[in-house]
């Protein structure tokens, strides 16, 4: 099973994070759990890779963070999508659709 898992393409993790945060603010563990649920072992996502991506996204102003209390009463950092992040999500979704359409077209013709 592990051999069937594909490495994430460059920049895709950010798209997954943006999409996950579009519904509600979450802490890092919650984000990665949600991603694992959805990709269902098809993609290889190392939990640790999430944090540098989140920090870079915060630097770019796509997300903000705030310390809060988690469901198990521990201090946790919650991330929330900003307006700029929502625009970025729309742009990245459109870009992803364009790329996948283009690749599909090539695969169907050759």
């Amino acid at each position: 099973m592990a051999n069937n898992r594909t490495d994430l393409m460059q920049g895709t993790l950010e798209l997954l994070i943006l999409k996950t945060l579009a519904r509600e603010s979450m802490h890092g563990y919650g984000i990665v759990q949600r991603i694992h649920e959805h990709v269902d072992d098809l993609l290889k996502v190392e939990d640790g890779s999430l944090y540098p991506a989140l920090y870079r996204m915060q630097e770019r102003g796509w997300v903000t963070s705030q310390w809060g209390t988690s469901e198990n009463n521990r201090r946790a950092k919650y991330y929330k999508l900003t307006r700029k992040g929502r625009k970025q999500l729309d742009a990245e979704c459109a870009n992803w659709n364009r790329i996948s359409r283009a690749i599909n077209r090539v695969l169907q013709t050759t």
């Binding site: 990665v32 939990d47 640790g48 944090y51 988690s70 950092k77």
Partner: protein, 164 residues
Amino acid sequence: MASAFARVLNSLSRKDIERDVDEELDFHIGLLQQEYIRLGMTPEQAINATEERFGDIRRVRKECVDISKRQRPTVLLLKLMFALIFLLGVMVAVFSPETHVDRVGHLLMTIGALSYFLVYSRNFNPSFFTPKSLLLKSAALRKSTPKNINNDQRSPVERLLSDD
């Protein structure tokens, strides 16, 4: 001089950045380990499984600390201040009517440029300005830390970092 300067910088930002990053990673790793133990693994197995799923924690921690430091308002303010000192030096050197005032301009330019470089290079290599005594102390602590996780008071991040 450099170490005194570094101490001022450290007191402004480094410790609380590292503490925040550690706390955040600690939360994640702790939950992962609990989850594995809940699924029936021994603590030892849970640590190994967590390491495998999380990836290289040293690299993650370093990247997060480096990115956080870039966005730190105190670091940005210091950079701005040293850039202004440099510019002031240039202005004094260019517009000074006399030689001794001109020297003050050069002095300001040197101070501004060197200080800016110190702040800049510190962002690339956090341990560059860490006093040697602190590095030795942390190495000694690491050596003396028990590897047995039973009765272990260390946080999950500390455990992963020290179990080489």
